[in-house]
Symmetry: C2
Amino acid sequence: MLRSLQILPVPGLPEVRPGDDLAGLVIDACTASTGLEVNDVLVVSQKVVSKAEDQLVRVDPDDPQAHKPLVVAESVRIVRRRGDLIISETKHGFVCASAGIDRSNVEPDIAALLPEDSDRSARRLRDAIKGRVGVEVAIIVADTFGRPWRRGLTDIAIGCAGIKPILDLRGTDDAVGRELQVTEVCLVDELAGAAELVRGKATGIAVAVIRGGDPGWFGPGSVAEDIVRDPSEDLFR
Amino acid sequence: MLRSLQILPVPGLPEVRPGDDLAGLVIDACTASTGLEVNDVLVVSQKVVSKAEDQLVRVDPDDPQAHKPLVVAESVRIVRRRGDLIISETKHGFVCASAGIDRSNVEPDIAALLPEDSDRSARRLRDAIKGRVGVEVAIIVADTFGRPWRRGLTDIAIGCAGIKPILDLRGTDDAVGRELQVTEVCLVDELAGAAELVRGKATGIAVAVIRGGDPGWFGPGSVAEDIVRDPSEDLFR
């Protein structure tokens, strides 16, 4: 019943370039460090996925606002705007600053867009790992988002495969036998944040392995379908 | 440089009652399981802190809305309202549903309020542990909050001691030598969420230990001062 988790950084991933075989690079890096075990959760930074999928756009390196037209193009609705800050709903359904576009950990003349479909990216990575080394892992594609009301940013899941995005505890009892009121835990966001703790922003560690997860965590699911809240049920846009 | 983290559940905490010596109970439970090491991060559920501090109010057990007057009393501003759902700014500065009041893991005729000052609660726990067993640990008091735009809830920090709430990376370079744009990581929220992964909602595990943290994480800080965003700089209330 009681489980402990390990959160392991995966060093050794080389600089990823458009068209690279990301699954192969991840397998090699894991094989050389953490290994790969059934029900490992591999948390992979959005940035390396975007690079491998060539979601890169050339921008004026001398203009810090050069990516702003891309922000508008990637958005379906501006939610808030203050000065240079644009918080929008992206075409993927995320609400975040700058449509998830950023220019850190890329060359000065490059802006990296989010993957077109991060759930699909996660599924492909999972399937490739399963196909090549025969190990069923879960994949989370993680990015760093701010949030209202609280300072600081945390890593959250923008795509996943092989893991339930939400643990639905409705109908289970709490420790004193009453039905739980807090019922839906966003498992993949907590895992993405946990992985950030060993990845860091400045280290270039793009992948972390979380080992020891509950067998009940694993199964089909999609961030876009299970986590992104429909605007009609949302009170904040 | 590279560190891995362990997230360890701490079983064996008895049912906590008003006036109980929470530090003593936590020390005993840790001693019997994980031990206590310098720079362990102990994540403690809000619920046991509220119980020890007698932040409990008697309510009609047959009325699921009986705590609503308490929600209003604990709030300084209603942010959104839909049906029975009230999202408000609490007197502590948090924006959350039901002013953080809940009725799970307590007796049917009890509603548990948030601690009056969760940073103070964390400091007292940290000081007591240091005083009694001579080990400097960090404390996070964690609660489960929803968020706009995304389904599911995650655990976040409502109080802390001995740990920097935000890791400020401004001025550090990314892996390709450019100054980081994403600069302020909310360390304590990521740690609180990570701890939830082994605590769970239905298990009655109120404490988790996170071991292996970077020495740079530790130092003074307060959730109320460092994380709660001033309404004037907030775009969503």
